[in-house]
Every structure is written in structure tokens, then in C-alpha cells.
């Protein structure tokens, strides 16, 4: 089951940090990629790519594609489309169905106002509670429910940096790059 996050309505000035957090949460909580729809924002993309480079794993970042085209293509290939919104149905009622379906999942996460047509385009409109809070939190809770908490224990391949859990303070392991090591041997 492949999970992608589609960020809708990103405004570079206003949303750059929130969208970066959305991307980081997508990666850290087990999604395989982020789609920055209908816009290009190289700053956000660069800062996400830097994290992937250092902390490992495979995480695809696509920008500038049409949201609607991407959604339609996703569905054509048999994937489900899920829109996170406080107006939707409670996550706990829908999540068992989503877990069992095993279809690829595209999760739409909007900035402030999402046009009503996306509510209709989505297979599911899902609420993480019905209070105003944060798309960053909504995405994290959704993925945590979908993967049943296992996502916090994922290993990221080819990480240059890793954290060693620690009671008081910071412990970081830095790894020598495989490629560099090969070059030296040659």
C-alpha cells in the first residue's frame, strides 16, 4: 500500500513553514511522497530534499502538477482519495475500512480554505476531531491510525544521521557514506 500526500492551496509566503511540516510529517509517518499541487516552491522542496538526503529513506517530492489531474490519475490506477477536513466523518469509524482495503492512498491536506469540489472528488472526507486545529496534526494522527503506531519504529535506509534515544540530552550517530567509502577504496 503506497501512501502519498497532496498539499493543496499552498501560498509560498504564508504557508512555507506549515507546508514544510506537512512534508516532514508525511515522510516521518510512513508516506512515500508529497505532491505540492498547482504551484512551485523550490525553497520548501529543497528543505525537504535536504532532510531526505541526511535522514534517509525514499521519499518522492513532486511539485507544480495539477491537483485535479493528479487525483484523477491516482484513481485511474485504482487508488483511493482521502481528504482530511474537520467537517468530515470521524476517523475512527472509517479507518478499519481503509486499513483493510489495501489500495494506494492519496491524502489531500489543504491550506486554509479547500474548494467544495474537492469534498466531492474525494472518496472519503475524514475528520480528526471536529475542532479547528492543524493540518499538520491531522495528517500525523491519520497516518498514526492507518499504520497503527508502527510508523514510529520505521528504519530509514541510507541515513547519514540517526538518533540514539536518550534520557537527558542528544545522541546522534553520523554514518560515513557508502559511496564515499567505495570511492576511497577505488
Amino acid at each position: 500500500m503506497k501512501v502519498f500526500v497532496l498539499r493543496l492551496g499552498h501560498r509560498p509566503e504564508r504557508d512555507k513553514r506549515i507546508t514544510t511540516h506537512v512534508g516532514l510529517v508525511a515522510r516521518a509517518f510512513g508516506a512515500s511522497g508529497l505532491v505540492l499541487a498547482d504551484i512551485v516552491d523550490n525553497k520548501v522542496v529543497e528543505s525537504l530534499r535536504k532532510v531526505v538526503k541526511n535522514w534517509g529513506g525514499e521519499f518522492e517530492i513532486i511539485q507544480g502538477v495539477s491537483a485535479k489531474k493528479f487525483i484523477n490519475e491516482w484513481r485511474k490506477h485504482g487508488g483511493e482519495v482521502i481528504h482530511l477536513t474537520m467537517y468530515g466523518l470521524p476517523v475512527d469509524y472509517i479507518i478499519p475500512k481503509l486499513r483493510n482495503s489495501n489500495k494506494d492512498k492519496l491524502i489531500i491536506v489543504g491550506a486554509e480554505k479547500v474548494p467544495i469540489e474537492y469534498y466531492k472528488l474525494a472518496d472519503y472526507n475524514i475528520a480528526i476531531g471536529h475542532q479547528p486545529h492543524s493540518e499538520v496534526a491531522a495528517l500525523a494522527i491519520f497516518l498514526d491510525r492507518l499504520f497503527e503506531g508502527r510508523e514510529l519504529y520505521m528504519k530509514f535506509r541510507n541515513a547519514k544521521i540517526q538518533v540514539e534515544p536518550c534520557e537527558k540530552g542528544k545522541k546522534v550517530i553520523k554514518k560515513v557514506e557508502e559511496k564515499k567509502r567505495h570511492n576511497r577504496i577505488r
Copy 2:
């Protein structure tokens, strides 16, 4: 068990939206208040107060107090201090202990770099995974684990606006204020 969130290192220009999300998540996920430590930012505080006014519940917002003083006072009154950091111990190992202790909890959520002294001041340094992601997500997952998912079903007293869950679209219930009704009757 009272839970407060202490936001550390807030920089008004850079962090205003992230800190607002931290405050909204604190409220929506069952905390009783937010402390904006060592700084005043009326814009953030106003936008949070507006949400409380419309969406109900009791949520205290304190700004400009010294982080260290607040932490020390909290502990003097028998409360626990928890710092969320990717360098800490895995949340799932610590959370049963925290649930059982029933002590009031102060959750420290830092902006980019938290001085190492706070790692020592905290009773617990807790990681929501060990990947870089978002303090907004970390706070949401922590509170969701602490309250075992029940927080998504909380009722907020005196709400003027409420959402009615909906499959496609938005349903909002607006309530007439109690006070206004009384005034009319008189």
C-alpha cells in the same frame, strides 16, 4: 489531571503560524492551557482567544512569563514536566507511567533549537519517533496517546459553532448565545 503546554523559543515573525497551530492542537487535544514563555505576541494570543470564544471550552492562555519560573512553580505544586524532543525516549515506553501517575503535566514544545538545560530540567524527554518532523505533530500524537484517543470526542462548553460530521461538504451549527437570549427576554 491538568495538562498545560509551554511553548519555548517562539519568534514572532518566523513562528507565528506554527505557534498558533501548537495552541490550537493543545486546545483541541485536551490541554487546559498554553504558556507562551519569555515573550509576548498579541497576534497569536488574539487568534487563539477568538477560536476559544467561538468554539467553546475553557482554555487559558498566558504570555510573557519566564519559562524557568513557570516550570519551577509547576513542579513545586506537584506537577510533572515533559519535554517533547526527537532525541528523547520513545513515547510508547513512557506513556503508561504518565497515564498512571495522574499528576498535572506541563508539556514543553520548543521552536527550532531548545537549550540543553531544558533537557535536564524536564522529568521526561520524550520522542515521537526519532525523525525530524514537527512540534505540532509531536504534541498531537503525545496528547492522543495520553488520552488514548478519547480527546477527539470531547464536548466544548458554550460553543457558538459546532460541526456536524458530514460525508461530502460542510455542516455547521451556529448557536444563539445564552446571554443574548436573556437580554432579549428581559
